[in-house]
């Protein structure tokens, strides 16, 4: 699936839920099922700046594509980064760098995920794009 298709799938997933509680429950579930980042990777230099909880992001070049791993000590932050990994993982670096993320608005979390929010969604996106640019 492409980045757009991934986003569309996420939007469909969230369309099931008509209240905030179920939406957050789903984010929490995504957080819980994020593949773990090994402890030796939880290092200072992998920390994403601008999040209130600690979020670690690791990336590796795989040919044209980028492979991501992440961890967060708060479960909602972990769910958010899991959504981003779902969308960006193993996608071509060039496309990650250019991607527009319409899903945030569409899943009805825009209010909760605005640029100045302490959750650091924007910082995570920025960090993933920086990795992608470095690999592109």
């Amino acid at each position: 699936m492409t980045i757009s298709e991934k986003q569309a799938a996420l939007v469909d997933e969230f369309a099931f839920f008509d209240n905030w509680m179920d939406k957050y429950n789903h984010i929490i579930e995504m957080g819980k099922s994020l593949k773990p980042l090994s402890d030796e990777n939880k290092q200072e230099d992998l920390l994403v700046k601008g999040c209130q909880s600690k979020v670690w992001l690791k990336a590796e070049k795989r040919g044209e594509a980028v492979k991501f791993w992440a961890h967060a000590d708060a479960i909602i932050a972990k769910g958010i980064v899991a959504m981003l990994i779902d969308i960006f993982d193993e996608q071509p670096a060039a496309e990650i760098a250019e991607a527009e993320l319409g899903f945030i608005e569409e899943i009805g979390l825009k209010d909760h995920l605005s640029p100045t929010r302490a959750n650091g969604l924007m910082s995570m996106i920025k960090q993933m794009k920086i990795y992608a640019l470095a690999f592109a």
Partner: protein, 405 residues
């Protein structure tokens, strides 16, 4: 007289709103308080009737604005029991007040001297002193805290010694609620001839103090934490200290004469008030003080103490609930963690239910480091909070915990 909570709440229109479809419960008062109608009215009345630049104007508006501003200076003097209104400096806030003193001490302190703070300070009462010590070679020392979040005083006499130039300490901790034994620590500092400063950020809204009783050299308040406008603080200083302290900012108002070669400085308070003051803020702050006093600071403090007790008991029944900061003497702040949850997650899910608490380190990272925690969730109370709100808070918290576990 009974505490008329309905009247009080009616004076804060912001409280009467829905957030995320639920009634707003605002429990982030240690960060900033809401503003009563009287304050907003004072601001609009100032701008619609009297606004002008102060102090140097001969015209009527300038005169009215000056009289209003100087009237508030005297009101503040009275409020904190200062000897004269020239000892009241208007600043931008607590941070600005402390930086003003720390900067001025740069010219006075010697490299072999030390500055003493506590392990319980807000960053605004840590970083300015770190910067001072870096500039001058002086040493920064800390009074440690115990696991309840209380100052450990048994080695006070070693920490504050004859080389101590300044003791700077907060009265009430914004992140744990600890009420610190200001008199004891000040007494030791005075015994060795050190200057003293009390950070009253969390004092202003909750307690009335008299600076002459404390015999403290400097004391600071923040308008925005006392139901007043943003952008305004108070620095009280004893006349002899303010006269000894070099000026901080250069500019209009703070000078007596300026030639191309040299300037001489004005008398206090103007020496420390460079530039056009935040006149509107001063006038709004005057209205806030008047409003607080009309309710009565002791009545407010008692109301808040009841809320703190009620919340402490009520929330303790939640499994894994753990209070951070369990000092014997506390005011208005409940910092907590819940086992198996991150405070940030609690904050987000509480917000979804209309409850505003603060999460994180509350600008007191050293405390969090000492407790080895990433931060806390913090509920802090003000004159307008109610037990019903605490009930809503508890129910929302239980729901959040259920989702997270």
């Amino acid at each position: 007289m009974a505490y008329d909570i309905d009247y009080i709440r009616s004076q804060f229109p912001i409280l009467d709103q829905q957030v995320q479809g639920r009634p707003l419960v605002y429990l982030d008062n240690a960060a900033t308080t809401q503003k009563p109608v009287a304050v907003v009215d004072a601001i609009s009345s100032y701008y619609y009737n009297d606004n002008a630049n102060v102090h140097r104007g001969v015209h009527t508006l300038s005169q009215r604005a000056t009289d209003a501003m100087e009237g508030v200076r005297d009101q503040v003097r009275e409020h904190i029991g200062a000897r004269e209104s020239a000892e009241i400096i208007f600043t931008r806030g607590i941070t600005d007040s402390i930086n003003t003193v720390a900067f001025g001490m740069g010219a006075l302190i010697k490299p072999h001297q030390n500055v003493v703070i506590t392990a319980l300070e807000h960053h605004s009462n840590i970083v300015p002193w770190q910067m001072l010590c870096e500039r001058t070679g002086a040493t920064l020392r800390y009074i440690p805290i115990n696991e309840k979040g209380e100052l450990i005083l048994h080695s006070l006499e070693e920490i504050i010694d004859e080389n101590t130039a300044m003791l700077a300490i907060n009265h009430i901790s914004n992140s744990l609620g600890t009420v610190n034994p200001v008199s004891t620590t000040l007494a030791r500092a005075k015994a060795v001839g050190a200057w003293t400063l009390v950070d009253g950020a969390q004092t202003g809204p909750h307690a009335k103090v008299n600076v002459q009783d404390w015999d403290v050299d400097f004391f600071t308040l923040a308008s925005h934490k006392m139901y007043g406008p943003t952008g305004l603080g108070v620095l009280y200083g004893k006349r002899e200290r303010l006269e000894a302290l070099p000026p901080y900012q250069g500019g209009g108002e703070m000078i007596a004469t300026v030639t191309l070669e040299k300037s001489t400085y004005a008398e206090i308070p103007h020496k420390f008030e460079a530039g056009t003051p935040h006149i509107e803020g001063v006038i709004g702050f005057g209205a806030a003080l008047k409003f607080m006093n009309s309710i009565g600071i002791e009545a407010i403090a008692q109301h808040e103490a009841e809320l703190l007790d009620y919340a402490t008991v009520s929330l303790s029944s939640i499994e894994g609930f753990r209070i951070i900061g369990t000092a014997d003497h506390k005011a208005s702040v409940l910092s907590f963690l819940i086992d198996g949850t991150h405070p940030y997650d609690l904050g987000v899910l509480l917000d979804q239910q209309g409850i505003a608490v603060r999460t994180g380190q509350h600008c007191t990272q050293p405390i969090m480091d000492q407790f080895c925690i990433p931060g806390t969730a913090r509920a802090s109370f003000a004159m307008y909070n109610t037990k019903e709100e605490i009930d809503l808070f508890k129910a929302a918290l239980e729901r959040a915990v259920n989702m997270l576990r």
